[in-house]
């Protein structure tokens, strides 16, 4: 995972929150560019994370062909 220790879901939530700010009552033009840059950085991190993640597949050693 790149960037901070936040997991993907937390980053997605952060991005949604950042984007929601642009539609909210607190929107202020003075802050918009900084927030936009933060959103763009987060989006790039998410894209990098998504592209680099691999699944970890483990075949259990436990056998199921007879009663344990």
């Amino acid at each position: 995972m790149s960037g901070t220790n936040k997991n993907l879901q937390q980053k997605m939530d952060d991005l949604s929150e950042l984007i929601a700010w642009f539609d909210g009552d607190d929107f202020a033009l003075e802050e918009a560019i900084d927030r936009f840059k933060a959103a763009e950085k987060l989006a790039t991190e998410i894209e990098t994370d998504l592209s680099s993640f691999k699944n970890d597949i483990t075949v259990l050693k436990q056998r199921f062909d007879s009663e344990a």
Binding site: L8, Q9, F22, L29, E47, N55, F64, D65
Partner: protein, 363 residues
Amino acid sequence: MENVLLSVSDFVALTNQTLEYAYPNVGIEGEVSEFKVSQGKWVYFKLKDDESVVDCFMTLWQLRVPIEDGMKVVIQGSPKLTKWGRFSVTVKAIKPSGEGAIKKSFEILRAKLDAEGLFSPDRKRQLPRIPKRVAVISSTEAAGYADFIKIVNDRWGGLQIDVAHVQVQGDSAPDQMIRAFNYINGQEELPEVIILIRGGGSADDLAAFNDEQLVRTIAASRVPTLVGVGHEVDESLADMAADVRAATPSNAAQILVPDRQDIIRAVRAQTSSLLPLISRTIEQTSRSLREQLDGAVERIEYRIATYSDVLQARRSVLQQLNPETVLARGYALIRGQQKIGETIEVETSNVILEAEVKNVRNK
């Protein structure tokens, strides 16, 4: 053996030993008749064809599918001579044989489990949108498993997948799948979803997924279940008992995880919509400012015009009050004492006269 004298019990025991040696496990196909369950534990029926009939016995817990008279079945068992001298087959496994019997058995069991509420939509649980840890029950050698893993890997990453390798067809398959379900459900740290998958096959191949105990195990799973068995047209009782049914193993992968490309596209679309939003806001703010300034100018011009009108009116009044204007209308301004013999000054609009007062009288 000619000179050996056996007791009846020894004869029965010897016969059974011989039968056990000769037929440790025999498969027989025939039609069921006189099917009955005794004391809720023992199952008795006859298996017959056009010419012969044989008694069969089994325990109720071994009966994994509904059986009724007239149904064609295949049994696995061992022949035995009872101490009462009756010959019967002790059945270890029984399953319907032929399309008609399989369908009939399926319908009976479906109706029974449906009546118990095992397939009720109210029991269905939702799967997590983005799971982190899941367990798969399948044969790792099956094509359906390979399809599932390929699609999950293509679509998503960062997922911990524990795989329980089991047989997914054959007589031992239901028990293996049940053990796998029980093992996973008994773990201290539970996965978020259990996925049961198997690719397509004949009705007989997929019969394991209509096993009553397996269906009950799926319905009772602590962990939400996703079942994808066979092709789209195939329908199993395992599907119906699952929290979520997938049409195929590939479809199970699509249901389990989102497509990372979709999320990347959505994230890009979200962020790229922000710049136009900022530009639009700047434009709107500028327009609003311009409009406010225009309004201010208009208000100033209006005030000036108003003041100008007032000034003009007052100037007009002032003009009327100007003595010069009165003199211009023919009046004269007199200065001095109005007494006989006094000299007074008379001012008209264009001359100033000096005159002597000759007479003064009251009006």
